[in-house]
Symmetry: C2
Subunit: 187 residues, 2 copies
Protein backbone atom coordinates (compact mmCIF):
# COMPACT_ATOMS: atom_id res chain seq x y z
CA UNK A 1 0.00 0.00 0.00
CA UNK A 2 2.96 2.34 -0.54
CA UNK A 3 2.83 5.22 -2.93
CA UNK A 4 6.24 6.64 -3.88
CA UNK A 5 8.64 5.05 -6.35
CA UNK A 6 11.41 2.65 -5.28
CA UNK A 7 10.48 2.31 -1.62
CA UNK A 8 13.26 2.43 0.92
CA UNK A 9 14.25 -0.65 2.87
CA UNK A 10 12.48 0.76 5.88
CA UNK A 11 9.24 1.14 3.93
CA UNK A 12 9.60 -2.38 2.56
CA UNK A 13 9.88 -3.77 6.07
CA UNK A 14 6.83 -1.82 7.23
CA UNK A 15 4.78 -2.97 4.24
CA UNK A 16 5.69 -6.59 4.89
CA UNK A 17 4.95 -6.36 8.62
CA UNK A 18 1.71 -4.49 7.92
CA UNK A 19 0.02 -7.44 6.25
CA UNK A 20 1.58 -10.05 8.48
CA UNK A 21 0.26 -8.37 11.64
CA UNK A 22 -3.08 -7.50 10.04
CA UNK A 23 -3.70 -11.11 9.08
CA UNK A 24 -2.04 -12.88 11.99
CA UNK A 25 -2.36 -10.54 14.97
CA UNK A 26 0.46 -8.88 16.86
CA UNK A 27 1.36 -11.25 19.68
CA UNK A 28 0.56 -14.29 17.58
CA UNK A 29 2.92 -13.30 14.75
CA UNK A 30 6.64 -13.66 15.40
CA UNK A 31 9.39 -11.62 13.79
CA UNK A 32 10.53 -14.67 11.84
CA UNK A 33 7.04 -15.10 10.43
CA UNK A 34 6.81 -11.42 9.60
CA UNK A 35 9.90 -11.54 7.42
CA UNK A 36 9.55 -15.04 5.99
CA UNK A 37 9.98 -15.22 2.18
CA UNK A 38 10.40 -11.46 1.95
CA UNK A 39 14.12 -11.22 1.19
CA UNK A 40 14.57 -9.10 4.28
CA UNK A 41 16.96 -10.32 6.95
CA UNK A 42 16.37 -10.02 10.66
CA UNK A 43 19.62 -8.10 11.01
CA UNK A 44 18.37 -5.33 8.74
CA UNK A 45 15.00 -5.27 10.47
CA UNK A 46 16.59 -4.75 13.88
CA UNK A 47 18.84 -2.08 12.43
CA UNK A 48 15.81 0.06 11.60
CA UNK A 49 13.50 -1.08 14.41
CA UNK A 50 15.28 -1.88 17.68
CA UNK A 51 12.32 -3.90 18.97
CA UNK A 52 9.13 -5.55 17.78
CA UNK A 53 7.12 -2.83 19.51
CA UNK A 54 8.99 -0.14 17.57
CA UNK A 55 8.07 -1.93 14.36
CA UNK A 56 4.42 -2.15 15.43
CA UNK A 57 4.37 1.58 16.14
CA UNK A 58 5.76 2.29 12.66
CA UNK A 59 3.15 -0.01 11.13
CA UNK A 60 0.38 1.83 12.98
CA UNK A 61 1.71 5.19 11.83
CA UNK A 62 1.60 3.88 8.28
CA UNK A 63 -1.94 2.65 8.91
CA UNK A 64 -2.88 6.17 9.96
CA UNK A 65 -1.53 7.58 6.70
CA UNK A 66 -3.30 4.87 4.72
CA UNK A 67 -6.57 5.74 6.43
CA UNK A 68 -6.27 9.22 5.00
CA UNK A 69 -5.11 8.04 1.60
CA UNK A 70 -7.51 5.20 0.99
CA UNK A 71 -10.52 6.08 3.14
CA UNK A 72 -10.92 9.80 3.83
CA UNK A 73 -9.55 11.30 0.61
CA UNK A 74 -11.54 9.09 -1.79
CA UNK A 75 -14.71 9.47 0.27
CA UNK A 76 -14.47 13.25 0.48
CA UNK A 77 -13.77 13.38 -3.27
CA UNK A 78 -17.10 11.76 -4.05
CA UNK A 79 -19.15 14.84 -3.25
CA UNK A 80 -19.01 18.45 -2.13
CA UNK A 81 -21.94 18.09 0.24
CA UNK A 82 -20.71 17.25 3.77
CA UNK A 83 -23.73 15.02 4.37
CA UNK A 84 -22.95 13.05 1.24
CA UNK A 85 -19.32 12.88 2.30
CA UNK A 86 -20.30 11.34 5.63
CA UNK A 87 -22.32 8.69 3.84
CA UNK A 88 -19.51 8.16 1.35
CA UNK A 89 -17.18 7.28 4.23
CA UNK A 90 -19.47 4.39 5.09
CA UNK A 91 -19.55 3.34 1.43
CA UNK A 92 -15.77 3.39 1.03
CA UNK A 93 -15.23 1.54 4.27
CA UNK A 94 -17.71 -1.07 3.16
CA UNK A 95 -15.94 -1.45 -0.18
CA UNK A 96 -12.63 -1.89 1.62
CA UNK A 97 -14.08 -4.61 3.80
CA UNK A 98 -15.63 -6.33 0.81
CA UNK A 99 -12.17 -6.56 -0.73
CA UNK A 100 -10.70 -7.85 2.52
CA UNK A 101 -12.89 -8.20 5.59
CA UNK A 102 -10.33 -7.06 8.15
CA UNK A 103 -11.31 -4.69 10.93
CA UNK A 104 -9.40 -1.67 12.13
CA UNK A 105 -5.71 -2.42 12.65
CA UNK A 106 -5.33 0.31 15.27
CA UNK A 107 -8.23 -1.06 17.34
CA UNK A 108 -6.73 -4.52 17.02
CA UNK A 109 -3.44 -3.20 18.36
CA UNK A 110 -5.18 -1.31 21.13
CA UNK A 111 -7.02 -4.45 22.22
CA UNK A 112 -3.71 -6.28 22.54
CA UNK A 113 -1.58 -3.56 24.10
CA UNK A 114 -3.77 -1.34 26.31
CA UNK A 115 -2.20 -1.40 29.75
CA UNK A 116 0.88 -3.13 28.39
CA UNK A 117 2.61 -0.72 25.98
CA UNK A 118 1.71 2.93 26.05
CA UNK A 119 3.17 3.89 22.67
CA UNK A 120 1.04 1.32 20.87
CA UNK A 121 -2.06 1.91 23.00
CA UNK A 122 -1.80 5.65 22.33
CA UNK A 123 -1.96 5.02 18.59
CA UNK A 124 -5.15 3.02 19.02
CA UNK A 125 -6.63 5.83 21.10
CA UNK A 126 -5.52 8.42 18.55
CA UNK A 127 -7.10 6.52 15.67
CA UNK A 128 -10.38 6.32 17.57
CA UNK A 129 -10.31 10.04 18.33
CA UNK A 130 -9.29 10.95 14.79
CA UNK A 131 -12.30 9.23 13.20
CA UNK A 132 -14.57 10.88 15.74
CA UNK A 133 -13.03 14.26 14.99
CA UNK A 134 -13.43 13.98 11.24
CA UNK A 135 -17.14 13.19 11.58
CA UNK A 136 -17.61 16.11 13.97
CA UNK A 137 -15.86 18.37 11.46
CA UNK A 138 -18.15 17.22 8.65
CA UNK A 139 -21.19 17.76 10.86
CA UNK A 140 -20.02 21.31 11.47
CA UNK A 141 -19.67 21.92 7.74
CA UNK A 142 -23.15 20.52 7.25
CA UNK A 143 -24.43 23.19 9.62
CA UNK A 144 -26.00 20.79 12.11
CA UNK A 145 -27.34 22.24 15.33
CA UNK A 146 -25.19 19.99 17.51
CA UNK A 147 -22.24 18.81 15.43
CA UNK A 148 -20.28 17.55 18.43
CA UNK A 149 -22.97 15.12 19.53
CA UNK A 150 -24.04 14.05 16.05
CA UNK A 151 -20.45 13.64 14.86
CA UNK A 152 -19.58 11.47 17.82
CA UNK A 153 -22.72 9.40 17.41
CA UNK A 154 -21.90 8.75 13.78
CA UNK A 155 -18.38 7.85 14.84
CA UNK A 156 -19.76 5.21 17.21
CA UNK A 157 -21.87 3.78 14.39
CA UNK A 158 -18.82 3.71 12.13
CA UNK A 159 -16.62 1.88 14.63
CA UNK A 160 -19.44 -0.46 15.61
CA UNK A 161 -20.09 -1.31 11.97
CA UNK A 162 -16.42 -2.05 11.29
CA UNK A 163 -16.22 -4.24 14.38
CA UNK A 164 -19.46 -6.09 13.64
CA UNK A 165 -18.66 -6.52 9.95
CA UNK A 166 -15.37 -8.12 10.87
CA UNK A 167 -16.83 -10.31 13.59
CA UNK A 168 -19.65 -11.60 11.40
CA UNK A 169 -17.67 -11.36 8.18
CA UNK A 170 -20.54 -9.36 6.76
CA UNK A 171 -19.68 -5.93 5.27
CA UNK A 172 -23.37 -5.41 4.56
CA UNK A 173 -23.84 -4.10 8.11
CA UNK A 174 -22.61 -0.77 6.75
CA UNK A 175 -25.97 -0.45 5.00
CA UNK A 176 -27.70 -0.76 8.36
CA UNK A 177 -25.34 1.86 9.77
CA UNK A 178 -26.04 4.23 6.86
CA UNK A 179 -29.77 4.11 7.53
CA UNK A 180 -29.08 5.21 11.09
CA UNK A 181 -26.82 8.00 9.85
CA UNK A 182 -29.63 9.30 7.65
CA UNK A 183 -31.93 9.48 10.66
CA UNK A 184 -29.32 11.18 12.86
CA UNK A 185 -28.56 13.75 10.16
CA UNK A 186 -32.25 14.52 9.70
CA UNK A 187 -32.96 14.99 13.40
Amino acid sequence: MAGTATPTKKQEIIAQAYDAFYDGGFHATGIDTVMANSGISKRTLYKYFPSKEDLIEAVLDQYGEDTDTYLFKPALARSDDPREQILALFDVRREMMEASCRGCLAMKAGQEYIGKHEGIAARGRAASEYVEGRFVELCQKAGLVNPLDTGRQIGLLFQGAAMTAQMQQKPSVFETAKKAVHILLAA
Copy 2:
Protein backbone atom coordinates in the same frame (compact mmCIF):
# COMPACT_ATOMS: atom_id res chain seq x y z
CA MET B 1 -18.02 -13.99 38.76
CA ALA B 2 -19.34 -17.46 39.63
CA GLY B 3 -22.71 -17.98 41.18
CA THR B 4 -23.23 -21.38 42.84
CA ALA B 5 -21.78 -22.39 46.18
CA THR B 6 -18.44 -24.23 46.48
CA PRO B 7 -17.42 -24.00 42.85
CA THR B 8 -16.02 -27.10 41.22
CA LYS B 9 -12.38 -27.28 40.23
CA LYS B 10 -13.38 -26.77 36.63
CA GLN B 11 -15.22 -23.56 37.51
CA GLU B 12 -12.27 -22.38 39.58
CA ILE B 13 -9.97 -22.82 36.60
CA ILE B 14 -12.35 -20.97 34.30
CA ALA B 15 -12.70 -18.10 36.77
CA GLN B 16 -8.95 -17.77 37.09
CA ALA B 17 -8.39 -17.91 33.33
CA TYR B 18 -11.25 -15.48 32.75
CA ASP B 19 -9.50 -12.55 34.41
CA ALA B 20 -6.04 -13.50 33.22
CA PHE B 21 -7.13 -13.50 29.57
CA TYR B 22 -9.35 -10.46 30.00
CA ASP B 23 -6.50 -8.41 31.41
CA GLY B 24 -3.60 -9.85 29.47
CA GLY B 25 -5.00 -10.99 26.13
CA PHE B 26 -5.18 -14.52 24.81
CA HIS B 27 -1.99 -15.04 22.84
CA ALA B 28 -0.01 -12.81 25.19
CA THR B 29 -0.97 -14.78 28.29
CA GLY B 30 0.64 -18.18 28.76
CA ILE B 31 -0.84 -21.10 30.64
CA ASP B 32 1.79 -20.69 33.35
CA THR B 33 0.74 -17.08 33.82
CA VAL B 34 -2.92 -18.01 33.85
CA MET B 35 -2.47 -20.39 36.78
CA ALA B 36 0.24 -18.53 38.68
CA ASN B 37 -0.52 -18.08 42.40
CA SER B 38 -3.87 -19.77 42.03
CA GLY B 39 -3.19 -23.09 43.75
CA ILE B 40 -4.15 -24.87 40.55
CA SER B 41 -1.60 -27.12 38.92
CA LYS B 42 -1.06 -27.42 35.21
CA ARG B 43 -1.74 -31.13 35.42
CA THR B 44 -5.26 -30.55 36.71
CA LEU B 45 -5.86 -27.84 34.14
CA TYR B 46 -4.96 -30.14 31.26
CA LYS B 47 -7.12 -32.87 32.73
CA TYR B 48 -10.21 -30.69 32.29
CA PHE B 49 -9.09 -28.73 29.23
CA PRO B 50 -6.95 -30.70 26.77
CA SER B 51 -5.64 -27.54 25.13
CA LYS B 52 -5.39 -23.81 25.69
CA GLU B 53 -8.00 -23.28 22.99
CA ASP B 54 -10.44 -25.56 24.83
CA LEU B 55 -9.95 -23.46 27.94
CA ILE B 56 -10.55 -20.26 25.98
CA GLU B 57 -13.78 -21.69 24.58
CA ALA B 58 -14.95 -22.51 28.11
CA VAL B 59 -14.05 -19.01 29.27
CA LEU B 60 -16.05 -17.50 26.42
CA ASP B 61 -19.05 -19.70 27.22
CA GLN B 62 -18.85 -18.44 30.79
CA TYR B 63 -18.62 -14.89 29.45
CA GLY B 64 -21.83 -15.50 27.53
CA GLU B 65 -23.59 -16.58 30.70
CA ASP B 66 -22.20 -13.60 32.59
CA THR B 67 -23.51 -11.28 29.90
CA ASP B 68 -27.00 -12.51 30.67
CA THR B 69 -26.51 -12.50 34.42
CA TYR B 70 -24.79 -9.17 34.88
CA LEU B 71 -25.92 -7.16 31.85
CA PHE B 72 -29.25 -8.24 30.37
CA LYS B 73 -31.09 -9.42 33.48
CA PRO B 74 -30.33 -6.35 35.62
CA ALA B 75 -31.06 -3.98 32.73
CA LEU B 76 -34.39 -5.60 31.87
CA ALA B 77 -35.34 -5.54 35.56
CA ARG B 78 -35.06 -1.77 35.70
CA SER B 79 -38.27 -1.16 33.79
CA ASP B 80 -41.23 -2.78 32.07
CA ASP B 81 -41.11 -0.44 29.11
CA PRO B 82 -39.01 -1.94 26.29
CA ARG B 83 -37.70 1.49 25.32
CA GLU B 84 -36.53 2.09 28.88
CA GLN B 85 -35.00 -1.38 28.91
CA ILE B 86 -32.97 -0.58 25.80
CA LEU B 87 -31.65 2.57 27.44
CA ALA B 88 -31.00 0.67 30.67
CA LEU B 89 -28.72 -1.71 28.77
CA PHE B 90 -26.53 1.25 27.89
CA ASP B 91 -26.61 2.40 31.52
CA VAL B 92 -25.62 -0.98 32.93
CA ARG B 93 -22.86 -1.44 30.38
CA ARG B 94 -21.53 1.97 31.26
CA GLU B 95 -21.57 1.13 34.96
CA MET B 96 -19.69 -2.09 34.26
CA MET B 97 -17.02 -0.22 32.34
CA GLU B 98 -16.74 2.39 35.05
CA ALA B 99 -15.90 -0.40 37.51
CA SER B 100 -13.38 -1.91 35.08
CA CYS B 101 -12.87 -0.35 31.67
CA ARG B 102 -12.46 -3.59 29.73
CA GLY B 103 -14.16 -4.08 26.38
CA CYS B 104 -16.00 -7.15 25.20
CA LEU B 105 -14.08 -10.36 25.86
CA ALA B 106 -15.76 -12.18 22.98
CA MET B 107 -14.81 -9.44 20.50
CA LYS B 108 -11.28 -9.53 21.86
CA ALA B 109 -11.14 -13.27 21.26
CA GLY B 110 -12.63 -12.88 17.80
CA GLN B 111 -10.01 -10.30 16.87
CA GLU B 112 -7.26 -12.73 17.83
CA TYR B 113 -8.68 -15.95 16.42
CA ILE B 114 -10.77 -15.17 13.31
CA GLY B 115 -9.31 -17.25 10.52
CA LYS B 116 -7.18 -19.19 12.97
CA HIS B 117 -9.52 -21.16 15.25
CA GLU B 118 -13.10 -21.65 14.25
CA GLY B 119 -14.47 -22.68 17.66
CA ILE B 120 -13.25 -19.46 19.26
CA ALA B 121 -14.13 -17.24 16.29
CA ALA B 122 -17.65 -18.69 16.28
CA ARG B 123 -18.14 -17.58 19.88
CA GLY B 124 -17.15 -14.04 18.96
CA ARG B 125 -19.59 -14.10 16.07
CA ALA B 126 -22.32 -15.54 18.28
CA ALA B 127 -21.84 -12.85 20.93
CA SER B 128 -22.13 -10.16 18.27
CA GLU B 129 -25.30 -11.70 16.84
CA TYR B 130 -26.78 -12.27 20.29
CA VAL B 131 -26.55 -8.60 21.29
CA GLU B 132 -28.06 -7.60 17.95
CA GLY B 133 -30.90 -10.08 18.42
CA ARG B 134 -31.78 -8.88 21.89
CA PHE B 135 -32.07 -5.28 20.72
CA VAL B 136 -34.23 -6.36 17.76
CA GLU B 137 -36.46 -8.28 20.17
CA LEU B 138 -36.87 -5.23 22.40
CA CYS B 139 -37.67 -3.07 19.38
CA GLN B 140 -40.39 -5.53 18.44
CA LYS B 141 -41.87 -5.35 21.93
CA ALA B 142 -41.77 -1.57 21.69
CA GLY B 143 -43.94 -1.82 18.59
CA LEU B 144 -41.53 -0.01 16.29
CA VAL B 145 -42.38 0.07 12.60
CA ASN B 146 -39.07 -1.52 11.59
CA PRO B 147 -37.68 -3.38 14.59
CA LEU B 148 -35.10 -5.30 12.54
CA ASP B 149 -33.39 -2.18 11.24
CA THR B 150 -33.69 -0.16 14.43
CA GLY B 151 -32.56 -3.05 16.63
CA ARG B 152 -29.51 -3.65 14.49
CA GLN B 153 -28.67 0.05 14.42
CA ILE B 154 -28.83 0.21 18.20
CA GLY B 155 -26.66 -2.87 18.34
CA LEU B 156 -24.01 -1.12 16.24
CA LEU B 157 -24.10 1.86 18.59
CA PHE B 158 -23.76 -0.47 21.57
CA GLN B 159 -20.74 -2.30 20.18
CA GLY B 160 -19.18 0.91 18.94
CA ALA B 161 -19.59 2.51 22.34
CA ALA B 162 -18.01 -0.44 24.14
CA MET B 163 -15.09 -0.44 21.71
CA THR B 164 -14.58 3.33 21.88
CA ALA B 165 -14.96 3.46 25.66
CA GLN B 166 -12.27 0.84 26.00
CA MET B 167 -9.95 2.42 23.46
CA GLN B 168 -10.22 5.89 25.00
CA GLN B 169 -10.72 4.62 28.55
CA LYS B 170 -13.80 6.80 28.69
CA PRO B 171 -17.09 5.09 29.66
CA SER B 172 -18.86 8.40 29.21
CA VAL B 173 -19.23 7.69 25.47
CA PHE B 174 -22.27 5.63 26.45
CA GLU B 175 -24.06 8.93 27.12
CA THR B 176 -23.37 9.96 23.53
CA ALA B 177 -24.68 6.60 22.35
CA LYS B 178 -27.85 6.96 24.44
CA LYS B 179 -28.67 10.28 22.79
CA ALA B 180 -28.48 8.57 19.41
CA VAL B 181 -30.70 5.75 20.67
CA HIS B 182 -33.34 8.28 21.72
CA ILE B 183 -33.35 9.72 18.21
CA LEU B 184 -33.54 6.33 16.53
CA LEU B 185 -36.39 5.22 18.79
CA ALA B 186 -38.34 8.42 18.06
CA ALA B 187 -37.95 8.18 14.28
